[in-house]
Symmetry: C2
Subunit: 293 residues, 2 copies
Amino acid sequence: MLIRRLAVIGVGLIGGSLARALRNAGEVGEIIGCGRNRDNLERGVELGVIDGFNQDIGAAVSGADAVFLGIPLGAMGAAFRALRGCIAEDTLITDGGSAKGSVVADCRSAFGFLPPGFVPGHPIAGTERSGVEASFAELYQKRRVILTPTEATSDEALDKVERMWRACGAEVTRMSIEHHDEVLAATSHLPHMLAYSLVDALAQMKENDEIFRYAAGGFRDFTRIASSNPVMWRDICVANRAALGAAMDVYIAAMKDLAETIRQGDGERLLEVFSRAKAARDRYIDGALDSPE
Amino acid sequence: MLIRRLAVIGVGLIGGSLARALRNAGEVGEIIGCGRNRDNLERGVELGVIDGFNQDIGAAVSGADAVFLGIPLGAMGAAFRALRGCIAEDTLITDGGSAKGSVVADCRSAFGFLPPGFVPGHPIAGTERSGVEASFAELYQKRRVILTPTEATSDEALDKVERMWRACGAEVTRMSIEHHDEVLAATSHLPHMLAYSLVDALAQMKENDEIFRYAAGGFRDFTRIASSNPVMWRDICVANRAALGAAMDVYIAAMKDLAETIRQGDGERLLEVFSRAKAARDRYIDGALDSPE
């Protein structure tokens, strides 16, 4: 058994699914939940996702050999501060945050140093639902999990977190913190910004009722991600603002260039851009890389 | 019977589906096809979509009381020039082009005036497939068709085209040419530009293999429209460049503003934008307006 006693801080879709998967795999002994919403924690016990809970983080992690932070990025700083002094030196700490630089900075500033047991992680998985009710053991099957060890992370801790995610069926890769944040800014955070700002721009147009009524073709697909949790995305934007800001600048420059090409009616160049994009999309998305969410 | 003899120029998804739907409704006598691809026309006859064909437009429209142009926007000018002198003064002419200003300009410049029988139209329907094989009689069921009569369009012609689309199961509305082009620029053309330029930007990044591998969440949905036909979209961009250029400017300004808000880490303002967008998206898209493509 990998983990004797696991503390899950934030028993939602991400934390709850990890608990279920580890339990199914027989890789965890006892699971203690912690979170702000007591009803959710009680439901977690009823569902057998957690064995018990304590709303005080210090008490919840007492005696745990591993702590998982499945909470919004904006709550990480306070959680790390609450952990301080309540865990053993070699306790494993890992998380599921969508940006990694900010989580590492929050950890360092809470502890005054980076604990060797801290392994920042990011499972690339999720649904539009949230809460322990939405969690399921198969969420991580064949999904990618990116681990971004700090300079202080011990080999032992890294290895254990890797095995933990593999036990859940995930494919684990390692990346530097900076590189993770750049890749995710481009492939996830930027598309969300495009969808949010498109819908918001249309909603603010004068005849927006009519505009949405005539929303054509792939508009529904295109804007689905604008229905994501606004609080979570606020946190992601603030946490990853440097990399996301840079990705947005690149994108804005590309859009300006495209607008100019359109205004000039340069059909040859437009055909080139659209054909290249279609080829890339068809190759990467519908082809070999069809599995990950 | 609404139409005795219909000439369909361009027997693809749009023209073929119109032919099938009118035939099913018993509102058309004979259907003559015309197009560049002889195999496609022969297949159209085999499938019973058209009764016969002639690759010469002048011959195909001879004796027709209605002509439908189901061809790319870039081919409209040449088609109107070929029609000139081959149709009666009161022959109905309508089309399925996604931009209307350019089609009207092409018609005016080919004829030297706007024929009273000309009713510019735009069925908001389509799939990712093309050619007569992809056509089906139900394509227009409960879809919106926008008609944009010119100042010369006769009431009789407008009424007949309206009845033609209703016979196909569509909901018909009227709009000015300029307004149509603005609404479609915002709701269809702009989203396609965002998707194309996002995929193209990512494809040109240094480690693009890795970037696509980690493409997260709604990325597949979000970029599906970047797999659309590049030639068709080149034509749409060139045809609607004024309205689309203006919509892109508005969008680029909104993106710049959002990038600045992110860089400042202004969480309160981000939450406001994302919440407003989510509310608009949920209200308009998943609610009452769920039927149209």
